[in-house]
């Protein structure tokens, strides 16, 4: 197991190195003048020249890359042109908001998806199967940003039930401030015995989490269904049934367990989807996470931030893949040998 882990880690490191080259190349293709962007509108030629030199933009490309790489390895992802703050600090500061959103979305999507998939496999060919199949294909086809807008129209404009944007009410920090421990408002408010804050945070996270969960629910339900059907067709299941084991035991304990590995892979895929899916959800709900920062940085061509986000996102993806692979290897010893 250790050797497997070591091999995979080494592979991941190589991939990240390659990614840094790609990201760097992309950022240098940008036609606009980075120095002018740094100064702001109405930049004067003398200022542009000065800042160009200051940011090292006049060096040859390979030199710039090596400088960049050295900086990245020591934790310096550059300074955002838009906010004038270190990029790594910006990313890390906004990470909890996005992680909380993704976590809640997955906490909804995984049980619901697996549950629907099992239901669908159990009642294959009948009404529940049909309904679940339609629901899951709708889930994977729905544009996230559109669903977000629809939910806003329905739950805010029509029903006036849930807040429109943001992570908490602006007043909350003055009335019942959350004491930061993990950065997850739902957790911290409970830890701090702050029910007002908990309810407020929960009300704000419902719609964005539901939006983000739509695609994962669909995908997980489909894969669970297909894996379950595959498994339920196996000989040992038939044997168990022949022995008179209760149906519930057969389906849920034997069948589901053995169907998990491909479902785990799909969960990893949905986590990867959530990495960029959160961009579109956050921007509609004005959620103060990585996604909003990423979209604004991309539009403003804030190239240090864009490079940082790409590297960060890719590293996250590599981590997810690694965890999924490790999970598979742990569950199924045969995988370790490949």
């Amino acid at each position: 197991m250790a050797r497997f882990l070591a091999r995979r880690l080494a592979g991941s490191a190589l991939v990240l190195l390659g990614l840094s080259v790609v990201t760097f190349v992309l950022a240098r293709v940008i036609p606009s003048n980075a120095a002018a962007l740094y100064i702001g509108p109405r930049a004067r030629p003398e200022d542009i020249a000065r800042v160009t030199q200051q940011l090292g933009l006049d060096q040859p490309l390979p030199v710039q890359y090596l400088t960049y790489l050295r900086a990245v390895l020591s934790g310096d992802l550059g300074t955002s042109i838009g906010t004038k703050q270190p990029v790594l600090g910006e990313l890390v500061g906004r990470l909890p908001a996005s992680l909380e959103l993704i976590a809640v979305a997955m906490l909804i999507a995984i049980p619901v998806g697996i549950g629907l998939g099992v239901l669908s496999a159990r009642w294959q060919g009948r009404a529940p199967d049909f309904i679940v199949r339609i629901a899951s294909i709708v889930g994977v086809s729905m544009p996230a940003f559109w669903l977000a807008l629809l939910l806003q129209i329905v739950f805010f404009r029509q029903l006036d039930l849930l807040p429109l944007t943001g992570r908490t009410d602006a007043d909350l920090r003055f009335i019942a401030p959350i004491v930061p421990v993990t950065g997850f408002y739902l957790v911290d408010s409970l830890l701090g015995g702050n029910p007002t804050a908990f309810i407020d945070a929960a009300r704000h996270i419902v719609l964005p989490a539901l939006t983000l969960a739509a695609y994962p629910v669909g995908l997980i339900a489909r894969m669970t269904r297909s894996a379950m059907l595959e498994v339920l067709d196996q000989d040992y299941i038939r044997t168990a049934r022949a022995f008179g084991l209760r149906d519930r035991l057969v389906v849920y304990r034997l069948g589901l367990r053995n169907a998990m590995p491909p479902v785990l892979t799909v969960i990893g895929l949905t986590l990867a989807y959530a990495l960029t899916g959160t961009f579109f959800v956050e921007i509609v709900f004005n959620w103060p996470g990585l996604g909003t920062f990423a979209v604004r940085s991309l539009l403003n061509v804030d190239y240090p931030a864009v490079m940082g986000i790409t590297l960060f996102g890719a590293a996250g993806y590599v981590l997810i893949n690694l965890l999924v692979d490790l999970g598979q290897a742990w569950l199924d010893p045969r995988v370790r040998l490949t």
């Binding site: 036609p31 109405r42 030629p45 009410d169 007043d171 950065g183 957790v187 004005n286």
Partner: protein, 553 residues
């Protein structure tokens, strides 16, 4: 790929699954705990402290939604949208009043001022009792150092070109000696480059040029920065020792400004109660607040106008008749109806109405397609038959709204227009780059740096220059240059004569049509009736003044 297992061994798998899931959750929480949700920089107290014991429900907070980003917190270098905050943190010597007021200026940090007859020496007497947020008193020395710093490296340092020396005559008197006559009172009331900064802060920033950027200020104004998260929010808190005092009305203790670039989100925040004031609501939606009893509809003239440039270096725009034809083809009314949603008035030249040297004598074009076609024929381009590329800022939703109207209108006289939205910085860069790659038409939203649109708008936008800066028509007209230069020299000493020359210059401008003059925008904002004391001042674009505001009784 499919990796279904065959065979049991299930209970171990379940346990492993459970542990795996638990590990994932712990990893996620660990990622979260290594960071803190507090803003990345704090100046004084952290916002997550318990609220001050002032009132049972916490401090009185005004929640504002704005698009105003902070390019820099340095009051000397400031030249952009952060003026919104600066105008509440810092103070100038004097404030210029809205047009129509009895006096031209109101006292700021100076209570009285005078000038010599030749306009070369200006004396300002400072008020007593004003202090900076670091506790130091506002002295003539502070003013001297602020102005010297501004003249040296301000973003708007050009306003100080007339300045020769600044003298701290005594502790509360400042004397400005100018190289040539200029309206130093107007300059000292500017939104950019005229803030009075604490000498300690000036020393600190001289040692470390990023001193202010974490959200630190050296001002004397009613509010000071409590915390700042770049691109996200600014929290201002009251400066208790402010010379204006806090007991006359119930001023707001804190101003929480949320930086929201999307206008639609601002409106959502206003409707949803997350903001008390939203400074940029989409113009298409703003009309509904006129009939809403909970709001007062603020509609005021503003400094901002939309100007277009023709690239006079490129044929056929080098022909004045072609440019005049294209000026006649513009659907001015539709552009105001759509681009400004009705909240605008057609411009007379590039000077916005209400700002010196605007004059009703400056002519306007009106849409006349027949005349446009005729002029094209006279110019040798019967039926049009050429194409133009028009660039505009993709971030500007108003330009995005009315640019298609220009395209459609020109199509009617046989001119084909390609619309190219670009990030403003890229649009800006391209217009100054390789001459062959430059645009044919350029749309821009403009505003003067201070209340003199002769030395600013007329000079900056259309005076010739060796390398293009603001004059993106690249027009080089000796007659116009002379008129504007002469008028500028006269402004301090003989305002009426200056005005007359400016008007002549503007008439030439409109006649020669190196650019298009679309409309002067209005400032529109729905103001909740729960807020009283609102004062609008046309002379301070981007700025809103929070100190006079208080809850309506």
């Amino acid at each position: 790929m499919d990796r279904s297992t065959a065979g049991p061994g299930a209970s171990r798998t379940t346990r492993r699954l459970g542990v795996l899931f638990g590990i994932l959750v712990l990893v996620a929480a660990a990622c979260g705990s290594s960071t803190s949700p507090a803003p990345s920089t704090t100046a004084t107290s952290a916002p997550t402290d318990a609220p001050p014991a002032a009132t049972p429900s916490g401090p009185l907070v005004l929640k504002v939604a704005t698009t105003a980003n902070v390019t820099t917190w340095d009051p000397i270098k400031s030249f952009s949208t952060e003026a919104l905050y600066m105008a509440n943190i810092y103070e100038p010597l004097l404030w210029v009043n809205p047009p129509g007021a009895a006096d031209q200026f109101s006292p700021g940090l100076a209570t009285s001022w005078s000038t010599s007859a030749d306009g070369l020496t200006w004396t300002f007497k400072l008020r007593s009792g004003a202090t900076f947020h670091d506790g130091e008193p506002v002295t003539a020395e502070a003013v001297k150092r602020s102005f010297e710093a501004a003249a040296d490296h301000a973003g708007a340092s050009f306003i100080w070109l007339p300045l020769d020396t600044v003298e701290a005559t005594d502790a509360s008197t400042v004397t400005l000696h100018l190289k040539y006559a200029a309206a130093a009172d107007l300059i000292a009331s500017s939104l950019y480059g005229a803030w009075i900064v604490s000498p300690k802060a000036l020393d600190a920033v001289a040692a470390d040029e990023n001193y202010f950027e974490a959200g630190v200020d050296g001002g004397s104004g009613p509010y000071t920065i409590e915390s700042f998260t770049a691109d996200k929010e600014v929290l201002l808190t009251r400066y208790d020792a402010y010379w204006g005092g806090w007991s006359d009305v119930q001023h707001y203790d804190k101003i929480l400004l949320t930086i929201t670039p999307e206008a639609v989100v601002q409106q959502q925040m206003l409707d949803g109660g997350e903001a008390d004031m939203a400074l940029s609501i989409p113009l298409e939606n703003i009309g509904q607040y006129k009939t809403n009893a909970d709001f007062t509809f603020i509609e005021e003239p503003s400094f901002f106008n939309y100007v277009g440039y023709f690239n006079v270096d490129k044929a056929p725009l080098d022909n004045v008749k072609v440019r005049q034809a294209l000026s006649y083809a513009i659907p001015y009314e539709d552009i105001i109806a759509i681009g400004a949603q009705g909240y605008g008035t057609q411009s007379r030249g590039p000077v916005p109405a209400g700002v010196f040297p605007w004059s009703a004598d400056v002519p306007q074009y009106t849409q006349d397609l027949a005349k446009a076609a005729q002029l094209l024929t006279e110019a040798g381009h019967e039926g049009g038959g050429f194409s133009l590329e028009l660039t505009y800022a993709s971030e500007n939703q108003n330009e995005g709204r009315f640019a298609p109207l220009i395209k459609d209108a020109y199509a009617k006289i046989g001119v084909d227009v390609t619309l190219t939205p670009m990030q403003f910085n890229q649009q800006w860069e391209r217009s100054k780059g390789d001459a062959a790659a430059r645009q044919d038409m350029f749309l821009v939203l403009y505003w003067p740096t201070y209340s003199d649109a002769g030395s600013d708008n007329l000079w900056s936008l259309f005076h010739s220059s060796e390398s293009p800066f603001f004059n993106l028509s690249y027009w080089n007209d000796a007659e116009f240059d002379t008129l504007v230069d002469d008028a500028g020299a006269l402004t301090a000493t003989d305002r009426d004569a200056a005005l007359a020359k400016y008007v002549e210059a503007m008439k030439r401008l409109v006649d020669q049509a190196p650019g298009l003059f679309f409309y002067d925008t209005k400032f529109v904002m729905p103001l909740k009736n729960t807020i009283a004391g609102y004062q609008y001042n046309l002379n301070y674009p981007f700025a809103q003044f929070f100190y006079p505001l208080h809850p309506a009784s």
